[in-house]
């Protein structure tokens, strides 16, 4: 394999240590699943960042989802990852077992259809995800508006990846040498937005796919940039990513949502890093419909270091709870719940 040429043919000197962060949950899983960390030499460190949308959803937002599930006449529809996320109020899975109507869907279109089929119920879709998910939900909201569907609501908890990358690049206590950038997100956003990271913060960025070869190619490109002491944006996933991205999808996001400050688990409040509904779409807001008050949750899960793990400061195995108190079956923190969380990937595969 090429990885051998990378590690053994002297591309990286023993004395050099490079730390690269992947910021996509699918990469986190792929790296663990392929056992990539084990075949790379110790001086190439791969760390996981805040790439799992469930994991970065704040505790207060998780509380909101549970409060919504308890509302009369509500059917909560969600992607599966959200079901088991623990909160001080329990979890959606436990609410479901106690009779609340919570349904796993594979597409927000299913939720919209449910709204049409159940005119006397209020269907709430939990909008969690990055730039990959938000255009789809924007398009469903537009369809709902066109069809005048009045019982479909969204709780928008969407996050934008670039402000988080900037946050991580700025952080003084993190020494990240480069980013393995998410293939899926970049299909939508294109490679242009990464230029801030590569130019302003001098962090090489390589967009790559999810096969072992893609990731290895990405790492090789990052090492080469470090060796040449340059930092730019490269695409190692040309079969899917174009520099301009998907214009239509970007327009959809813009039409329905506006950028807002957002609270990230582990990273805290990041300016202009989330999406909320624009004024003209407020009719689809689950918070407005159910008059949900602002949930102030200072509650932190005791002993759980998911926050630090999301910043790449610690490995999952550095957490005292990891594998003992906290397992995918009984997760304490969100990084263990989502299949894309770093803790879950480490637990299952490493």
């Amino acid at each position: 394999m090429r990885s051998n040429s990378l590690t053994s043919a002297g591309t990286v000197k023993e004395t050099e240590v490079f730390t690269f962060m992947e910021v996509c949950g699918t990469h986190t899983v792929a790296i663990s699943r392929w056992g990539l960390r084990k075949i790379l030499r110790e001086n190439i460190r791969l760390i996981s960042g805040p790439g799992c949308p469930v994991c970065v959803t704040s505790q207060a937002d998780i509380d909101k989802t549970i409060l919504l599930a308890r509302k009369k006449n509500a059917i909560i529809t969600t992607f599966g990852d959200m079901l088991r996320v623990p909160s001080r109020l329990g979890s959606l899975e436990r609410e479901k077992a106690q009779g609340r109507d919570i349904r796993v869907v594979y597409s927000p279109l299913d939720a919209l259809k449910m709204a049409e089929d159940n005119p006397h119920k209020k269907i709430v879709f939990l909008g969690v995800g990055f730039e990959t998910t938000s255009p789809l939900i924007a398009s469903v909201i537009l369809t709902a508006k066109r069809k005048k569907i009045k019982n479909f609501f969204v709780l928008p908890l969407f996050k934008l990846i670039f402000p988080a990358l900037e946050f991580l690049s700025k952080a003084k206590d993190l020494n990240i040498d480069g980013f393995i950038c998410p293939g899926h997100v970049s299909v939508i956003t294109g490679s242009k937005p990464y230029e801030v990271i590569s130019k302003k913060y001098k962090k090489p960025c390589v967009i790559t796919g999810f096969e072992a070869e893609d990731i290895i190619e990405g790492i090789i490109k990052l090492v080469r940039q470090k060796k040449k002491k340059v930092s730019r944006v490269e695409i190692a996933y040309k079969r899917a990513v174009k520099s301009g991205g998907n214009t239509k999808a970007k327009e959809l996001i813009k039409k329905v949502f506006k950028v807002n400050d957002s609270f990230w688990r582990g990273l805290g409040l990041i300016k202009k890093s989330g999406l909320v509904l624009r004024e003209e779409f407020k009719g689809f807001s689950a918070e407005e419909e159910f008059k949900l008050r602002e949930v102030k949750s200072s509650y932190e899960l005791k002993g759980c270091i998911c926050g630090e793990i999301l910043k790449g400061k610690f490995k999952p195995s550095d957490c005292k709870l990891f594998g003992k108190v906290c397992t995918p079956q009984k997760p304490v923190g969100p990084c263990m719940v989502s299949s894309e969380g770093a803790c879950s990937a480490y637990y299952k595969y490493e």
């Binding site: 949950g25 699943r33 599966g80 990852d81 088991r84 594979y106 009984k330 595969y349």
Partner: protein, 333 residues
Amino acid sequence: MSKLKDNFITLSYGSGGKLTSELIESLRKKFSNKILDELCDSAELNLKEERIAFTTDSFVVKPLFFPGGDIGKLAVCGTVNDLAMKGAVPLYLSLSLIIEEGLSFSVLERVIDSVSFWAKKAKVKIVCGDTKVVGKREADELFINTAGVGVIFSQDIRISSKAKPGDLIIINGPIAEHGLAVLSARQNLGFISKIKSDCKNLNLQVQKCLEVSKKISVLRDPTRGGLATALSEIAESSDLGIEVYEEAIPIKKEVKKMCDILGFDPLYIANEGKFICFVGKKDAYKVKKALGKEARIIGKVVSSHPKKVYLKTILGSARILLPLESEQLPRIC
């Protein structure tokens, strides 16, 4: 029950993963006896000269009909296969139906015709049964329970849940089709999938193996929890290690692609027409041949790393394979 950490049942207790084993374990303790504690797919009863295999299974699949099968076919194959996994020739099945008020007769008839068809295929007779009708929403359309009895193939075979060091592991074909077929029938996934359930009777294929080898130690059909969970359970009960080779595990291209899209690991997805056979090295090729061209040798039993399963990845690295923790949930992006 007191050992379970929850105070009520969540769906995860039915996933076939760790919580399911904990639930079963807590129930088993109440009835513990030598036969039950063997923890095989069927119980072996020694009645004078005869060695009888006995098992039961319930079927609650939704929707009742899915690509490649239906609840009736599953109810026959599931129980027939559990008997076969003890090295038994299945003979008789019982059939109990719990029917929700409002179920149409045409649906019931389709299911029963399917039961009849697949029972004939497996050469088993339905010899007793029961029907109960419950009110709306007290069941979901139709639940079926079947129990089955069979006779162990021959006196000199000993199929248990304990593998032997050096055994090779053979699978009869590609994995993860049933789980995905049911999922795509259940959910409108927004893309067309050609994946069909692999649901089928395995007794005739198992008999072919037993005809060519007396050195088969374990037979297991990796249903709920998938191949990874079945391998982990066998490593655990054998107190031995297992090594499997990613490259050798047969997975159809479309299955792999669909798993990639949904964020699922095919090693944890249910099968209904696959089994793994642990057999002494000398006989392994004979057994593989008997199983036909889709069969593959996927790994071996080792004395190192007892109770642990390691997967050698295509890249040459090794990673641990754990039993399914809880139901796989489709990822967000």
